[in-house]
């Protein structure tokens, strides 16, 4: 198995773990972490593709790296915005539940 295939399989696993977390984790912070795991999976896949698509004589295709760094910045910004929202939510309601009417005692 080539290194690229190994990376691509790892990417699949990460996306799968992230998706699973997105579905089953009720806490918004855990959902956010699941999103980040899923996103990391996509980034790893992109890296593996860059290696595979390299032109002769180059170690890797440079375009995906340029796109990747942008995507990472976007994901970072998204995480920051979400954490800010979550903090405001906890400040104003004392719960971090996404349910419409949080059950009593939480």
């Amino acid at each position: 198995m080539s290194v690229e295939t190994l990376y691509a399989l790892a990417a699949c696993a990460l996306v799968g773990i992230g998706l699973y977390g997105m579905i089953v984790q009720p806490h918004p912070l855990r959902k956010l972490i699941a999103f980040n795991i899923m996103g990391t999976g996509v980034f790893v896949l992109f890296g593996a593709l860059a290696k595979r698509g390299a032109a002769a004589g180059l170690a890797a295709d440079p375009v995906p790296q340029a796109l990747l760094i942008t995507a990472i910045v976007v994901a970072f910004a998204a995480t920051a915005v979400t954490v800010a929202l979550l903090l405001r939510l906890v400040e104003s309601t004392d719960t971090a539940s996404l349910a419409d009417e949080p059950p009593a005692g939480r």
């Binding site: 996306v15 593709l49 375009v63 979400t82 104003s92 996404l98």
Partner: protein, 574 residues
């Protein structure tokens, strides 16, 4: 025609994207009353710029192109404006101006008052939404489109929680997390396409993409990611609380403009980037979800207690209409032969919805401001107290129903002719029946607001400018087909609204709508009980329960995966 060389007027595209963002940064530094001045100056300039782009596009033979830094794709990035992009640029500029005029009363900074944080955030976010949308329309590259889409979400989410209450923060957080899920799926699709074809430039991709597994997987993933951001049923988990809870001026932006960005991108993928991969079977799935959205959204709208939530659910239903165009692009043999016709109809529908829905949300906001509540059962006497706002609401409703000469009428007519040409009779029924579902909630509200109140209505004064802005946008939607008739559309599509055939259709639509409202509304049509009276049972309750179930987080996520798998399978099978 060369798609990889800057054309005359191409620089205008870069200016249209830059202007709102530059104005936003400038406003951020200046703040206060200056921010508002900057915003209004930007609106005037931006509208002129959009019209300028339309004029250069009309004089050019092909799309306008601008290569950033002179680098041509695949290494560089191109901005392109074709017909759909130009139409959306102009429409969005018009709607932003209307919303800006409306918002002046709510978020203006009078000379003697201290600047409020909400107003400060609102104007900045309005400009950011505008810039992001312009970038969505003119990007010629799927990765730039990803960035534009994220910008749009980042600008849209804070608009949801401008009021800052726990309920709106929760709605914003739900929106953000679900939209993020959608954007990861989109990015995954884009990555797969780059891996397969080595470019993300739309025309280059269209030339090299083949109907093979990697392209199909990418199209399915990207489409579903965008559906999550557009909130097509059953992925509308975030829409009703977000659009129903935001201030009216923000709901208008969210409902009229923000969801159109991701919808437009689905159009780009299906018709421009990967026309060879899309299949009629997958298009049927999109339209099927659209039809379900129309039925569920309209019926649940009838069950709402608050006017703003009714309008929010009406948006859920109207998003369904925007997806009916996809099967109409395919002829009877399953080839994509009618793409132009279907796309024109879709754009008309989108612009008609943007104008009408902005007007309706503003009208609902005015009703709330004047009466201090927007409980549908207590709206008796509103028509007399607020004639202009109520007129705006009802005219917006009529325009959405597709009464002549509205833009929705023309869109329906075009889709019907496409359905006729391709022999898809089933969709004819949905197109005609959908109008009756819209009529149902318009009739319900008309009856509630026209009723005579038991006691005189106490009514706070509201800004005249805001009322006129709402009315203007609703009227624009109602008169849209007249504007479209000047353009490239065949004139015979417009007929006399009082001709027996047209009048008959309109009356039947109203009658069926009234029947639906009588059968499914929360309270009987001519009921005089004030709010708080128990809701009626019947089939309407099932829809309500179903909607609540679908909007549970795990259900929505599973629906997301299911839709992705189904569309992938339908792309392979055909």
């Amino acid at each position: 025609m060369d798609l990889w060389v800057s054309t005359n007027g191409g620089g205008l595209l870069a200016a249209a994207v830059l202007l709102p963002f530059v104005a936003m940064l400038l406003g951020l530094c200046l703040g206060g009353r200056w921010l508002q001045r900057v915003a209004f100056a930007t609106m005037a300039l931006g509208l002129a710029l959009a019209l300028g782009i339309a004029a250069s596009w009309a004089n050019a033979t092909g799309p306008l192109v601008y290569l950033l830094g002179g680098w041509s794709p695949p290494l560089g990035i191109a901005l392109r404006a074709d017909g759909p992009a130009v139409a959306m640029l102009v429409a969005v500029a018009g709607v932003v101006c209307g919303i800006g005029l409306f918002a002046r009363a709510d978020f203006g900074s009078p000379p003697d008052a201290k600047e409020s944080r909400t107003a400060f955030a609102y104007w900045l976010l309005l400009l950011a939404v505008w810039g992001a949308l312009n970038l969505v329309f003119v990007s010629g590259d799927l990765f730039t489109l990803y960035v534009a889409l994220e910008l749009l979400t980042f600008a849209g989410v804070p608009l949801v929680c401008l009021a800052g209450s726990g309920e709106t923060l929760r709605a914003a957080l739900r929106y953000m997390l679900f939209a993020l899920c959608g954007s990861v799926l989109y990015l995954l699709g884009a990555v797969l396409l780059y891996g397969g074809y080595g470019t993300l430039d739309i025309p280059l991709l269209a030339a090299s993409v083949q109907p093979e597994p990697i392209a199909r997987a990418a199209l399915a993933l990207m489409t579903v990611g965008l559906l999550a951001k557009t909130a097509l049923f059953p992925l509308h988990i975030w829409l009703p609380p977000a659009h129903g809870g935001a201030p009216a001026a923000a709901s208008a932006v969210l409902s009229a403009l923000v969801i159109k960005g991701s919808w437009f991108l689905v159009l780009r993928l299906w018709f421009d980037a990967m026309p060879g991969v899309a299949t009629a079977a997958a298009a049927q799935l999109l339209a099927g979800l659209g039809a379900a959205a129309i039925v569920v959204g309209s019926v649940v709208a009838l069950r709402q207690q608050r006017l703003k939530l009714l309008v929010a659910y009406s948006t859920v239903a109207q998003i369904g209409y925007l997806f009916l165009l996809f099967p109409m692009a395919f002829d009877a043999e399953g080839r994509m032969a009618l793409a132009d016709l279907a796309q024109t109809a879709g754009l008309l529908q989108a612009i008609a919805h943007a104008t009408a829905k902005a007007g309706m949300f503003m009208a609902a906001g005015l009703v709330y401001a004047a009466l201090g509540h927007d409980r549908i059962d207590d709206l008796a006497g509103a028509a007399r107290a607020l004639p202009l706002a109520v007129a705006a609401f009802l005219i917006g409703g009529l325009a959405l129903m597709g009464v002549l000469p509205s833009g929705a009428y023309l869109a329906k007519k075009l889709l019907l002719s496409a359905a006729d040409e391709s022999g898809q009779w089933g969709w004819t029924l949905v197109l005609q029946g959908g109008a009756a579902f819209t009529a149902a909630y318009v009739v319900l509200i008309a009856l509630r607001v026209l009723r005579r109140p038991a006691t005189p209505v106490a009514c706070k004064p509201v800004s005249m400018l805001s009322q006129l802005a709402a009315l203007g946008l609703a009227l624009a939607s109602l008169a849209l087909s007249l504007a479209a008739a000047i353009g490239p559309l065949p004139a015979e599509l417009i007929t006399n609204p009082l001709a027996p055939k047209e009048l008959g259709t309109t009356l039947v639509t109203f009658a069926v709508g009234a029947l639906l409202a009588a059968a499914l509304a929360r309270r009987p049509l001519f009921d005089r009980a004030p709010s708080g009276a128990p809701a009626r049972g019947g089939p309407g309750v099932w829809f309500e329960r179903g909607d609540r179930q679908v909007r549970e987080w795990p259900t929505a996520m599973l629906a997301l995966l299911l839709v992705a798998a189904a569309s992938g399978w339908l792309l392979v099978r055909a």
